[in-house]
C-alpha cells in the first residue's frame, strides 16, 4: 500500500468507507483499488487530475456505476447500489454536474420530480401542490441569499440560483451524504462565492458532504478532509488544516509521493 490514512479526530466517526474499489471499462482500468473515508458531519474533498478516476469513484458511490471489486461500507454496513435509486434509498444524494433540473418546470416541481406528494387515493390521487410548495420553500430555506420563488420556472434562474436549487434539493432529501460534482465549475466569481456560501451553510448544519473540485483554494476553504487520486488510486489523504495548495498539487502530479 502506498498510503497511510490520516488519523481521525476522536470526536468524529466514519460514515462511509470504500476500500479496494476497482472498475474497468473495456481495457481501461479507471479505478485500480481506490479507497475513500468520509467522516460524519465533515466535508471531504476528492481531488485529482482529469482521468484520475474521481468521477468514476463518485459514480460508484451514487449508484450510476457498479464497481467490479472492493466494498463500500455505509454506517458500518456493506452496501451495493444497483442503481442511482438504490443509492438514494440509502440517503445518498448527488448534485450532478449538469444539475439534473428540468428547465421547463418550476422550482418546486423540480424538487419533487419522481417523488411527488399526493393526496387522495387510487385513481383520485392528485398532486398536493400546496404541501410541495411549502416543503420546497423549507428546503431552499436559508441556503441561498437570493432565493428564487418556488413557483418560477428554472429556465428563468441564473446559473448560481440553479446550482443552489439543485444543492438544496439534494440536501433536503439526503439522510446521509450529499455528493457534489464540480459545483462551481461553470460559474463566475460572484456566483461561485454564493455557491460556496451554500456549501458552508450545509457544512455548519452538519451535513456530510463529498466535494469534487479542481480548485485547491476552494478545497482548502471548504473541506475538512482531502483525498487525492492519481491514475485510479487514492494516493493520499490529508486533513485540510495540515496541508497546502502546493502540497496538493505535488500529490496530484506525482511530484510528491505521499
Amino acid at each position: 500500500m502506498t498510503t497511510t490514512p490520516a488519523p481521525a479526530p476522536a470526536d468524529t466517526d466514519v460514515l462511509l468507507s470504500a476500500t479496494g474499489i476497482t472498475k474497468s471499462f473495456g481495457g481501461v482500468h479507471a479505478l485500480r483499488g481506490a479507497h475513500l473515508t468520509m467522516r460524519r458531519g465533515e466535508v471531504t474533498a476528492l481531488i485529482g487530475d482529469n482521468g484520475a478516476g474521481k468521477s468514476t469513484l463518485v459514480r460508484c458511490l451514487s449508484g450510476i456505476h457498479q464497481p467490479d471489486g472492493g466494498e463500500i461500507l455505509l454506517d458500518g454496513k456493506k452496501v451495493h447500489f444497483a442503481s442511482p435509486l438504490k443509492a438514494r434509498e440509502h440517503g445518498i444524494e448527488t448534485v450532478q454536474q449538469n444539475l439534473a433540473l428540468v428547465e421547463d418546470l418550476t422550482v418546486w416541481q423540480n424538487f419533487f420530480i419522481g417523488r411527488e406528494l399526493t393526496k387522495g387515493v387510487g385513481p383520485f390521487s392528485m398532486l398536493d401542490r400546496k404541501k410541495m410548495k411549502a416543503q420546497s420553500l423549507d428546503m431552499l430555506g436559508d441556503l441561498a441569499v437570493n432565493i428564487p420563488p418556488v413557483t418560477s420556472r428554472v429556465r428563468r434562474l441564473s446559473g448560481g440560483q440553479r446550482q443552489a436549487v439543485s444543492i438544496a434539493r439534494a440536501a433536503g432529501w439526503s439522510t446521509s451524504i450529499v455528493i457534489m460534482d464540480e459545483p462551481t465549475a461553470a460559474l463566475g466569481v460572484q456566483e461561485t462565492a454564493r455557491v460556496e456560501n451554500v456549501i458552508k451553510t450545509l457544512r455548519d448544519k452538519g451535513v456530510t458532504l463529498l466535494l469534487i473540485s479542481h480548485n485547491f483554494d476552494q478545497v482548502l476553504r471548504l473541506s475538512d478532509h482531502v483525498a487525492v487520486m492519481r491514475r485510479g488510486l487514492t494516493v493520499a489523504e490529508r486533513r485540510a488544516t495540515d496541508t497546502s495548495g502546493d502540497e496538493l498539487v505535488a500529490l496530484i502530479t506525482g511530484a510528491k509521493e505521499s
Binding site: R115, E116, M126
Partner: protein, 346 residues
C-alpha cells in the same frame, strides 16, 4: 431599484415641475406600464395566439356574415370541432414529450372501421364502441413500443404505424364504407345540453380530464419532465420509456373516441384517408401555443386552436369562399402561429 421605465404619457410624467414625489407616483405608474407592457410584448400574443385569434375571427366574421354569430351556427361550429378537439388533446400529450403522432388520423380511421365491422357483425353498440376504441388504443401502443423500446424516432415510428393503420382499415373493410344505423348513434348526434351538442360535451369532458391528468397528477408532471429534459427526468427516477409509451396509448385511445364521433357525424364508417385531421390536429396544437420541442404542456390552447380552425372554415364557407381556399387559409394561420411561437417567453 426604484427607477420605473418612464412612460411619456403616463401620469408620472404629467407632473410638470422638476421634483416629482419619487416614492408614490412611480409605483402605481409602473404597475400600469407593466400591464400595458404585457400587450406590447410579442410573447403575450404568442402565448395567447389561440384565444386572441378566435376572438378576432369571431368579431370579423360576425361583421361579414349575419349568420355567423347565431346560436345555431355557434352550436354547429362546436359540433364540427368536437372530433378535432379530441384529436388535438391526444396530439398535445404526445407533443408535450417532444414527440409527434403522425398516425393519429389513420388510427382514427382504423378505429372507425373496426367499430363498423363489429356493428355489422351484429354486436351490441357499446361492445362495438369498445372494440373500435380498443383497436385504436392497440395501434397507439404499437407506436409507443416502437418509440420507447425500439428507440425509433417518433416521426419514423408513427409514419410506419400510419401506413399500417391505413392499410389495415382498407383491408378489413375491403375499401367499402359501412353504413351505420343505430339509435345510440342517432341520440349522440341529436342530443343536446342547452345549445351544445353531445359530441362537444364529450370533447369538453375529455379536455377537463386531460387538464387534470396533465397538471394535477404525478403522471402529468412526468410527461412534462420527459419532454423538458429526458436526462434530468431519468436522473430523478422518472421512467421515461413508460411515459413515452403512455402518451401514445392516450393518443391512440382518443383517436378511437374521435372515430366514434366521426361515425356519428358521417353516419358511416369509412376507410377513407382522413389526412386533413392529422394536419389539423398538429395545427391546433401549434395554434394552442405548444412548442414542438416539448416540455411545455397546454390543454386549453389546443382545444381553442381546434375550435379556431373550425370557426375559420365555417366562416369562409358562410361567406361563400370556395372550398379550394380553405386549406390555404388554414395553412396561413398555422404558419403565422408557428412564427409567433418563436416569441414565446420560455
Amino acid at each position: 431599484m426604484n427607477t420605473p421605465k418612464e412612460n411619456p404619457v403616463s401620469t408620472t410624467a404629467a407632473a410638470p415641475s422638476g421634483a416629482p414625489s419619487k416614492k408614490d407616483a412611480p409605483s402605481s405608474g409602473s404597475r400600469l406600464t407593466e400591464h400595458l407592457g404585457d400587450f406590447k410584448r410579442l410573447s403575450f400574443w404568442a402565448e395567447n395566439a389561440a384565444p386572441i385569434g378566435l376572438l378576432l375571427l369571431v368579431i370579423v366574421f360576425s361583421f361579414l356574415s349575419p349568420i355567423f354569430f347565431t346560436t345555431g351556427n355557434i352550436s354547429a361550429i362546436l359540433m364540427a370541432s368536437s372530433i378535432l378537439v379530441v384529436l388535438a388533446i391526444g396530439q398535445s400529450f404526445v407533443i408535450t414529450t417532444g414527440g409527434i403522432d403522425l398516425s393519429i388520423a389513420a388510427t382514427m380511421t382504423l378505429g372507425a372501421v373496426v367499430f363498423g365491422l363489429s356493428w355489422d357483425a351484429g354486436h351490441n353498440f357499446w361492445l362495438a364502441v369498445l372494440l373500435g376504441i380498443g383497436a385504436s388504443t392497440l395501434m397507439g401502443a404499437a407506436s409507443g413500443f416502437l418509440i420507447s423500446k425500439g428507440k425509433v424516432t417518433d416521426f419514423i415510428a408513427t409514419l410506419g404505424t400510419m401506413g399500417v393503420a391505413t392499410g389495415l382499415a382498407l383491408i378489413l373493410s375491403n375499401g367499402r364504407p359501412i353504413t351505420i344505423r343505430s339509435d345510440e348513434l342517432l341520440s349522440l348526434t341529436t342530443g343536446k345540453v342547452w345549445i351544445v351538442g353531445l359530441p362537444f360535451v364529450i370533447a369538453a369532458t375529455v379536455a377537463v380530464l386531460a387538464w387534470f391528468v396533465m397538471f394535477r397528477t404525478p403522471f402529468g408532471m412526468h410527461i412534462q419532465a420527459v419532454g423538458g429534459s429526458e436526462e434530468a427526468a431519468v436522473a430523478n427516477g422518472v421512467k421515461a420509456g413508460r411515459i413515452r409509451l403512455a402518451v401514445y396509448v392516450i393518443s391512440g385511445a382518443l383517436a378511437g373516441l374521435a372515430a366514434i364521433l366521426l361515425i356519428a357525424r358521417v353516419g358511416a364508417a369509412e376507410p377513407a384517408v382522413n389526412q386533413a385531421y392529422l394536419l389539423n390536429s398538429i395545427a391546433a396544437v401549434v395554434l394552442g401555443g405548444v412548442a414542438l420541442a416539448g416540455g411545455r404542456a397546454k390543454i386549453a390552447g389546443p382545444v381553442l386552436g381546434a375550435i379556431l380552425l373550425m370557426a375559420l372554415t365555417n366562416g369562409l364557407t358562410l361567406m361563400g369562399v370556395s372550398q379550394f381556399y380553405q386549406p390555404l387559409a388554414v395553412g396561413l394561420v398555422v404558419v403565422l402561429a408557428a412564427l409567433l411561437t418563436r416569441f414565446q417567453s420560455r
